[in-house]
């Protein structure tokens, strides 16, 4: 069963009365362990599609599934629950909470799910695998860009999601740090996690097992 699947999805935004079709009848599936890159010019609808794949947004038309759960039929509250357990997000601008330490940032998804019982061992494990043990007590303000993005990846996978959605994860990094991040993402897929990544960079897309191209909201 695919981790995520969309069938003929369309996303129309309302831009001050003007309808804007960002995603236009796209069908695709992401299999477990797959590293999929989404390329295309700016404004072609990559982020919009990622948000639907990651259960962050519902399509205007068409169906979207996370495993056997119909995203298009869920309430907002149910979407939240789904993301909390099955999805991890990585952003171009990291989006860590500045008042929390690296460790607390990483533990956040576990905290959101379990409340009291945060598995500190799991957090330590992930931090180690991202090479961040020495930074665990630092606030994000003191981290380099690469460290920030590694922290974000750790946060995205700490709860063992089935799918990691990464929107231009290397867009704000130098090539060396970008390479490290891509290697880490690739490593995730070895353990069976699926990764969908939007990128402008062919270099980055080269790390992916499969590349889809988008233009004007459609897959090519």
């Amino acid at each position: 069963m695919p981790v995520a699947r969309v069938s003929n999805v369309t996303k129309v935004y309302d831009a001050e009365g003007e309808p804007v079709t960002a995603v236009d009848g796209v069908s695709m599936a992401v299999e477990p362990g797959q590293f999929l890159a989404l390329m295309g010019p700016s404004g072609c609808g990559k982020s919009s599609l990622l948000h639907i794949l990651g259960a962050m947004d519902r399509p205007t038309r068409g169906e979207a599934w996370i495993e056997d759960t119909p995203v298009h039929r869920l309430t907002e509250e149910e979407l939240t629950g789904l993301r909390r357990t099955r999805i991890g997000f990585v952003f171009q601008f990291f989006h860590l909470l500045p008042t929390l330490t690296v460790e607390e940032n990483v533990a956040l998804p576990l905290l959101l799910t379990n409340g009291r019982g945060v598995d500190r061992r799991r957090v330590g494990e992930i931090l180690a695998s991202m090479g961040l043990e020495h930074r665990r007590a630092s606030p994000p303000g003191q981290l380099s860009g690469g460290e920030l993005q590694r922290t974000a990846i750790a946060r995205a996978v700490v709860h063992r999601p089935a799918l990691v959605v990464a929107d231009e994860p290397t867009g704000n990094l130098d090539s060396e740090n970008g390479r490290v991040v891509l290697e880490l993402l690739a490593k995730l897929t070895e353990a069976g996690t699926a990764v969908v990544m939007a990128t402008h960079s062919a270099e980055a897309a080269a790390f992916a097992g499969r590349t889809l191209r988008m233009k004007d909201g459609r897959l090519q």
Partner: protein
């Protein structure tokens, strides 16, 4: 020009983009200014209306002859006949009346109406009256009604002239009859004419009626008596010469002065009260200014990147600084203008409260103080004040903005600033300074240092607040986290991580809370003290007074009433008490005379040196000695063994102070002596109040009924001990209504600050909150985080406010109140009431959290992630 364009583009547009927050800041400043304006206006207008009224009533008089609160004999006019050669003279009799339904009782708390008895034939040089119906008839007599009705006025024993406002209130027109209680009797009088609202008819907002003096004497049962003689001189320059000649001719107890001193009296008497009210009103303003500081600080932090970009584009440091300073100024000035406008409205509500309180506590200067012309001077002052304070509060953030370097990114704005190690030290120093100032004496009877000490304490707590907040948060953190592991942790982290900014909001809340708490403690302590005092002093079972009595001692218990008390079964003893208003060293003072043989065994005055009443009574009876109240002793710097000169009929006579007792009946001062001494030295047999002591086991109600039944045609007010006590406490409670109203406004301003600060925190964190939503936080959880944050700010502000309030209440009770009014108050802590106030503050801050919470819920996470 470029500056203006920049200001428009960078500042004004930003303000316009955040209308809710801009409005919140503006309303905070406006409310602060409004409170000050309202208090100033109502103070000024209450005083102005009193002095205007006195001026109107005194008319053209150059000199005034009176006997220090005691009546003059009307034959004095004849002795002074020579005055007619140099001017004109007229006699005045004043009293208080109350409108009642026929056979009814006066209503407690309803302001009494002045009855002004004038000699209509000699009024013309002094005052003019204009009636609504007639015109031009007897203008030469100062009253423009036709001859026939003028003669009616002179001859009929019940003719009243009533100002139009009062006639409308009474729903009475010319020819109607109205029932008035005057002194010990009910009178059915008739409205001869309604006066136009001009001249004397405007005095005391029209709460005054006029009669011919002969009729007034009859109504007041004061035949042959007048209260004063007024003189108009052909040549006012002769005033001094004429005054001294009159003084030489008359007994020494007669005072000849100029009516101009009246306004000064009112001003002096109420000075401490008004001063304290004004000082309190500034608290709201301070809280409003903290709001400006907060808003600007937030703007600077939020727009770090933008400021950096402007700097890259070549905008100078200085221009950036001026831009933010200009923003502060704009807030101050616009807020002030709005505040003046709101203040005018508030003044109408507060004005009634203030002048009622002043009336109750002091002269009985009725009238709502609605002499309400605009006050351009005050407006200008407030706009300047608003601008200046805003500039001061904006200086810090503006300076901070100039420090932003062109290369700074958005991230650096979030880096917590290292807090200076000097701050806590400065905080401790401020507290020490406050303690030292608290020990300093009053300046000219005003607790100037006391208030300065309050400011120092507030500054000290503000400087120490980050430390206190950190400590308190560490204490409450486990509780919050246990209750709400997810939202609690995130909320606490936010508060701790953004301490400097949060601290400002917490401080403004705690200042408002401290003010409320300290007032609550002070008032409760005061009230408890008064209750104890009432218990010990007020021991009579029944108190008999004239049916309508104002503050002036002129209304005495009718001889018939005194006679009726004789032989009523159940009465064991009575104490005839006389009180008259005298002037002591320029301060209105009450002279009282009681039967100390009765008092000694019954009521207990609490003497400061701990002696019993019986002991002091032995010193008083049969000697030229007095006991004085604490406020009197404090104000005049007198003590036991000192001598006071009191205005006896044949001139000032020295009396030795035999003791100083606690008294809370007025801050004007009270001097009491034994009735025997009073009768001997002052030759005044009148009685103002009779305290009736019953035989054990007799029923107060039955005795009251019996006395009432024996009153034949005479009216008296007979109160039981409980009723009188209730009245005293009711007056007490009403006194503090204004103060509480002010506190609540200050609190409202602070709560707006909280809403503002939290909203800013939300907008600043919109990316974080969006990210939280991506990683699985629900909308509800986000809302909860915000509510916990505001709750936490409420708890922090409330608790710090209680601590600060405790300190300030000590200052209020032991320094400010004592120095202003001379009252020793026993300190009590009303735990229940304080808990209520804390709960109120918590509820208010939670309510304040609703706005930012709604803001947070409205955030679209996808938009939030996109926004860069």
């Amino acid at each position: 020009m470029t500056f203006l364009r920049l200001f428009n583009q960078a500042i004004l547009r930003d303000l316009a983009r955040n209308p809710a927050r801009t409005l919140l800041t503006l309303s905070g400043v406006a409310l602060g200014i409004a409170v000050v304006v309202a208090v100033q206006l109502s103070n000024d207008r209450a005083i102005a209306s009193f002095s205007d009224s006195m001026e109107l009533l005194n008319g053209q008089a150059d000199l005034r002859i009176s006997a220090n609160g005691r009546p003059l004999d009307e034959t004095l006019m004849g002795e002074l006949a020579w005055v007619w050669d140099v001017g004109a003279m007229t006699a005045i009799l004043e009293g208080r009346v109350q409108r009642i339904v026929p056979g009814g009782e006066a209503v407690f708390g309803q302001a009494t109406i002045r009855l002004f008895g004038v000699d209509m034939l000699s009024e013309a040089p002094f005052r003019t009256y204009s009636t609504s119906t007639d015109s031009g008839g007897r203008g030469d007599l100062g009253l423009d009604i036709d001859r026939e009705r003028f003669i009616d006025l002179l001859t009929s024993p019940d003719a009243l002239l009533v100002p139009r406002v009062l006639a409308e209130e009474w729903n009475a027109s010319e020819g109607d009859s109205v029932n008035l209680l005057a002194g010990n009797r009910e009178h059915e009088l008739s409205v001869l004419a309604v006066l136009n609202p001009s001249g004397v008819a405007e005095a005391f907002d029209g709460r005054i009626v006029f009669m011919d003096i002969a009729a007034a004497q009859r109504v007041m049962r004061r035949t042959g008596e007048i209260d004063r003689i007024e003189v108009v001189l052909d040549d006012p320059a002769m005033a001094d010469a004429v005054a001294s000649r009159i003084a030489d001719q008359l007994p020494a107890s007669v005072v000849v002065d100029s009516p101009e001193d009246d306004a000064g009296d009112a001003e002096r008497m109420t000075r401490a009260f008004r001063y304290n009210l004004t000082a309190l009103s500034y608290i709201a303003l301070v809280v409003g200014m903290i709001l400006i500081y907060n808003t600007l600080n937030i703007a600077v932090v939020r727009r770090h990147g933008e400021i950096g970009a402007l700097r890259t584009l070549g905008v100078s440091r200085r221009a950036i600084g001026w831009m933010f300073l200009a923003e502060a100024l704009a807030f101050g000035v616009v807020g002030a203008v709005a505040g003046i406008w709101i203040g005018e409205f508030l003044a109408r509500a507060a004005g009634a409260l203030v002048s009622r309180t002043l009336a109750m506590l002091y002269t009985g200067m009725a009238g709502a103080g609605s002499g309400s012309g605009p006050a351009p001077g005050l407006y200008l002052e407030m706009i300047l004040l608003g601008g200046a304070l805003a500039a001061v509060s904006g200086a810090g953030p503006a300076l901070r903005a100039t420090g932003v370097s062109p290369i700074e990114t958005i991230r650096s704005g979030m880096r917590p600033r290292a807090s200076s190690r000097l701050r806590p030290l400065a905080g401790v120093a401020a507290l020490a300074l406050g303690a030292a100032l608290g020990l300093a004496p009053a300046v000219d009877g005003l607790p100037v240092f006391g208030y300065t000490a309050g400011v120092a304490f507030i500054a000290g707590f503000s400087l120490l607040s980050p430390l206190i907040i950190r400590a308190l948060t560490a204490v409450v953190r486990p509780v919050i986290v246990r209750a709400r592991p997810v939202e609690g942790t995130l909320a606490v982290e936010t508060i701790q991580g953004r301490l400097p900014r949060v601290a400002v909001a917490v401080i403004s809340l705690s200042i408002a809370m401290a003010m409320l708490a300290s007032m609550v403690i002070m008032v409760a302590s005061f009230r408890d003290t008064v209750v104890v005092w009432v218990d010990q002093t007020l021991r009579g079972d029944l108190y008999v007074r004239p049916a309508a009595s104002g503050r002036d001692g002129a209304n005495a218990v009718a001889p018939e009433t005194l006679a009726a008390l004789d032989g009523v079964p159940g009465i064991e003893e009575i104490d005839r008490y006389r009180r008259v208003d005298i002037d002591y060293n320029g301060f209105p003072t009450t002279l009282g005379a009681g039967q100390f043989d009765v008092v000694a065994a019954r009521a207990g005055l609490q003497f400061m040196d701990g002696r019993g009443t019986a002991e002091v009574a032995r010193d008083l009876i049969g000697h030229d000695r007095v006991a004085v109240s604490e406020p009197f002793a404090v104000r005049h710097g007198l003590g036991r063994g000192d001598s006071v000169a009191l205005p006896a009929p044949e001139g000032l006579r020295p009396f030795e102070i035999a003791g100083v007792f606690y008294d809370y009946s007025s801050d004007g001062g009270l001097v009491v002596m034994d009735r025997g001494t009073y009768l001997e030295r002052f030759a005044d047999e009148a009685v103002s109040t009779v305290a009736v002591y019953l035989e054990p086991g007799s029923d107060a109600e039955a005795v009251r009924r019996e006395i009432t039944a024996r009153l034949d045609g005479v009216r008296a007010r007979i109160a039981t001990n409980g009723e009188l006590r209730e009245q005293i406490l009711r007056v007490f409670d009403q006194t503090f209504e204004v103060t509480y109203a002010l506190e609540v406004v200050a609190l409202a301003v602070a709560v707006m600050g909280i809403a503002n600060m939290l909203a800013a925190l939300i907008l600043e964190r919109r990316r974080e909150l969006a990210a939280l939503r991506f990683i699985g936080a629900s909308r509800r959880q986000i809302g909860r985080i915000v509510m916990i944050e505001s709750g936490l700010v409420g708890v922090l502000g409330g608790v710090i406010g209680l601590l600060l309030g405790g300190v300030l209440s000590l200052l209020l009770v032991y320094v400010i109140n004592f120095q202003s009014f001379g009252w020793t108050i026993q300190f009590t802590v009303p735990a229940g009431f304080l808990a209520q106030s804390l709960a109120m503050v918590l509820i208010a801050t939670l309510a304040a959290g609703l706005y930012p919470a709604a803001l947070a819920l409205k955030l679209d996470p996808i938009e939030g992630i996109r926004a860069e």
